[in-house]
Every structure is written in C-alpha cells, then in structure tokens.
C-alpha cells in the first residue's frame, strides 16, 4: 500500500560546528499523494537534499512535523519512530556507491533487511531477487563490491535500498556521474519498480528531460522553500517564473517556445517530450 507524506510547517537547520547554519528548510507545507511520482527541482543549495533527509528522519524538524504514513517525525521524537520511518522510506543518496562496505555484494545488499529484522535466509533470497531486478547477474553476489565498475556499484547500492522493500522511495540524483545509457537504465528501473510496487517516489534531479519523462508532479524549491508544487505540465508552462528560480525547461519545451516565438503561433498544449512536440507540430500543420 502506498504511503502519503505530509509536511506541516517544517523548519530545520543543520548544526555545523561552532556556526549554526542558516535554516535549510523554512516553514514547509507539503502533501505528497500516495502512489505519486514527484520530481524535486531547484537551484544548487535550494534545499532539495534536505527535504529528502527530512522524510527519512535524518534531518529532524526544529519546528513543525513530518508525517510518513502513520508515523510522525518531530523534534521530540523517540528512536523507534525513526526506525519505523527508515524501514518504510528507502533513501538513495547521491553517489550511493560510496556507502558500500560488504565483503561481498550479497552481504552489502542484506545489510538493510537484516537491520530491520529480516531473517538471514530470507534476506539472501531478497538479495538474489533484487540483484536481477537491477539488471545484474546473480553471480555478482559473491564478488567484492570494490571490484565492480562504477555503474555496477551504483546498481548494487540501489539494490541494497530496494531490498529493504520500502513503501516510499526517495532518490537524490541517482543518475549523476553515469553515462547517458547507464543513467537511462537506472531511471527506467526505478520507474518500473515504482509502478509495479505502487510506491510513492520522490526524485531529485537537475535534468529536466528526466522530469518530463518520469515524473507526474514537480516540486520547485528555492532558498529553503517550496515555491511551486504542481502537475509537471503546469510547472513548465510558466517559463518566465522558472528563470527566476534558476530552473531550466525540458529540451522539447524549449524548442516549442522557440518555434512559437519565431512563427508567432501558440500550440494547444505544453509539450514536454519529443513525441508530444512532434504531434503538436503535425496538429498545427507544420510537419
């Protein structure tokens, strides 16, 4: 069953040594619908990663609360609530391969499930299953994660999260630093996992074409606040405002705007992918 995520007046900051850093999240109100696929976009340092951490209890609100499913995270939380949340929310960090530590790939993938009380034999079965789901050969299970290639490591790291069988999946740029093909494969994998298992998925990305392809809704963040949370088409329809937020538009949409400007016409809809744009062009009789 998919889970809802709710933020109510969440303000949070990091305690960084002697200096308390300025607020990274400022009175955030947010409702993520169960089963939705949401992309989080925004300028560097706008608070995207912090928003994800707040969903996993890694960043505790100083004001307000976060509700994941039936569990509430707030400043006066006990550890059990955090553990419940972390079991339900699988978080894939940026460059997740840097968290690999197991002697074997199997051991690493089993780490999460074992922490959440899954028996060893069952965890091993899960490992075997997810490793194939992420497109790796089961023989890799007995290898050392340090001997793998970059793309393989990334897949193993993601498999380690999927093995926890989370209800909510939050990902911080899962495709960063991979080649275009590898990146596309990873995102396709996440997308199909999302649909098959009916997860609630949140994805931080800088690539607007990924947003156009995979997401349904978009959250735009700017300076620790959510400045827009809407259907992706509505978000990308207002390109003037996006420029103010230092946010790009998908390639197809940029091309559409250019054509509209040059030809002095207006298409019926906001095109986000090449296919949509082609159809719109045929519709107005330009192709």
């Amino acid at each position: 069953m998919a889970m809802q995520i709710l933020f109510d007046g969440v303000t949070a900051d990091y305690q960084l040594g002697p200096i308390r850093s300025p607020r990274v999240l400022k009175s955030i109100n947010l409702e993520v619908k169960p089963g939705s696929f949401t992309a989080i976009i925004g300028h560097t340092g706008s608070g995207k990663s912090s928003l994800l951490k707040a969903m996993n209890g890694l960043l505790i609100p100083s004001e307000g609360y976060v509700e994941v499913g039936n569990t509430i995270i707030k400043s006066s939380n006990n550890k059990r609530a955090l553990k419940t949340v972390r079991k339900q929310v699988g978080m894939v960090f940026q460059f997740p391969e840097s968290q690999l530590f197991g002697e074997t790939v199997e051991q690493d993938i089993c780490f999460g499930p074992l922490n959440f009380g899954v028996p060893l034999s069952q965890a091993k079965e899960i490992a075997k299953e997810v490793v194939q789901q992420v497109g790796l050969d089961p023989t890799i299970l007995s290898k050392s994660p340090f001997s793998l290639s970059g793309g393989q490591k990334r897949r193993v790291a993601i498999a380690g999260i999927l093995a926890m069988n989370p209800k909510v999946l939050v990902l911080d740029e899962p495709g960063a630093g991979l080649d275009p093909v590898g990146k596309k494969e990873i995102l396709n994998l996440i997308s199909s996992w999302h649909h098959e298992r009916g997860l609630t998925t949140l994805l931080v990305t800088h690539d607007m074409d990924d947003v156009a392809t995979y997401a349904e809704n978009v959250i735009v963040m700017e300076n620790g606040r959510i400045v827009m949370h809407d259907d992706k088409r509505s978000v990308f329809s207002n390109e003037q405002q996006l420029i103010n937020w230092h946010v790009d538009v998908p390639d197809a949409r940029r091309f559409q705007l250019k054509i509209e400007q040059e030809m002095g016409i207006k298409f019926g809809q906001v095109c986000l992918t090449t296919e949509e744009l082609t159809e719109a062009l045929i519709e107005v009789g330009l192709v």
């Binding site: 040594g17 890694l58 550890k79 553990k83 929310v89 840097s98 530590f101």
Partner: protein, 269 residues
Amino acid sequence: MNKLILGRYFPGESWMHHLDPRSKLLAAAYFILVIFLANNWQTYLLLWVFTIFVLYSSNVSFSVYLRGVRPLLWLILFTVFLQVLFTGGGVIYLEWGPITISEFGLLNGAYIFCRFVMIILISTAVTLTTKPIDLTDGINALLRPLRKLKVPVDELSLMLSISLRFVPNLLDETQKVMDAQRARGTEFGAGSLLQQMKTLVPIFLPLFASSLNRAEDMANVMEVRGYQSGEKRSTFRQLSWGIRDTASLLIMLLLTISMIWLRTETTGY
C-alpha cells in the same frame, strides 16, 4: 563530529591573525614552557591574565574557546582527580586507604587544571587564527634546521598540509556515510559495546576505500604536474616577519621575566 574546534580556522582581521605563523608557533611552544614556571596563585593569576589577553586579542568569541575545551574536559578532570586523590601533604581533610584528600592535593589539582586549560586555550587561539596552510608553512620554516640532520622536512610538511587539507572532506564524508547507513537501519550508540563496535565497520570501510582512492588520485595528479620529492622547491606564499612578530616575542620575554620575578618575590626561589 562537527564539534571539533581544534584545527579550525576562523577568518578575521585581528592582531593575532596578522602575526607570522612562525612567531605564533614559537610563542605558543614557549608559553607551554613558561607555564611550568608557575608555582603559586600569584603566578597562575598572571598566566590567566596573559591567556585572557591573548584570547581577547584574537577577536574570536569566548564561547568558541570554551567549546574547544569541552571535548577534553573528562581527560582533564580525570588527571585532576588522580592528583587530588593521591597527593598528600599539608592539612589532610580525608583519608581512606591509599586515598587522601589533602591541602596540597587540592592545590595541585587546581594548578594542573589551570595548566591543561591554558595550554588548550593558547593552542586553540593559534589554530583558530592561522590558516592551516600557513601553519604548515610555519612548521616547515621552524623545522628547516633539521634538514642538516637529513630529516625530510619538506616531505613531512607536505604530508601535514595534505592531511590538514582533507580533514574537512573526511568529516563531510563521514557524515554522509553515517547518514546513508542510518537510512539502511543502523542505530549508532545503541546496544552492547560489541554491537556498537560492529556499527563502525560500515562507516570505516567506505571511508578507507574512498581515502585510498583519493590518495592515489592525488599522487597521480601531483606526478602529472611534475612533483618530485627531494627537489629544492620555491614557495608561492612567502612568510614575512614584521614588527608585530618581534613585539610579540618581546611580550613573551616580558612575561618570563615577570614570572621569575613574581616567583622569587612570593616564594623566595
């Protein structure tokens, strides 16, 4: 993880900030020697006045210094208690087996406490007001005479500056890996000692792996850019000794003379 004050640099424009790292290091090392001249409350008072004067002139808030002392507080208190409990002499307030609480013990405990805190405060003052890179340049310059004894001074200071350079990266990375393992259900600081030690493996292994990778990258980059050990090297940043530096060493001398004078005035030796 982020509470470590020692080794951090606070940018600023104070008198302390503008001192040459060599004079700061010399003065700090010398101060530690001078501390051992103190043997009664008058001399300790003078040292405290001097320490507070130094902290004040660094223009960094006192709370930062206190935070620098805090992580070492237990170590200090432990030493102080050993002193208090096992030093005899003077009026004895309590005696229980080998443990005695005496006048001299309490006094010695207080003195040791002062010594520890002052040494930490002064060395923190130096590191807070000196860029790590200047610090290593200063150490390099001060160790230069050892070259005659075939000590690889340049290599040592290069190692030091590289390690200092990567401390913040390592701290960031530790935080990141800890967060990642927390997200996978690790609970730090829970369970038995053995369980707690086991939770460290998933942190240290990735850190070791990435540090080794980084070291290799670093070595390659340095080699590509023509670095060779043992060559005579010029420096980009030149250290310059100014009037301030001479003045601060003179202040140190003045402090020594006053200490010796106070000592002889009050105790006679």
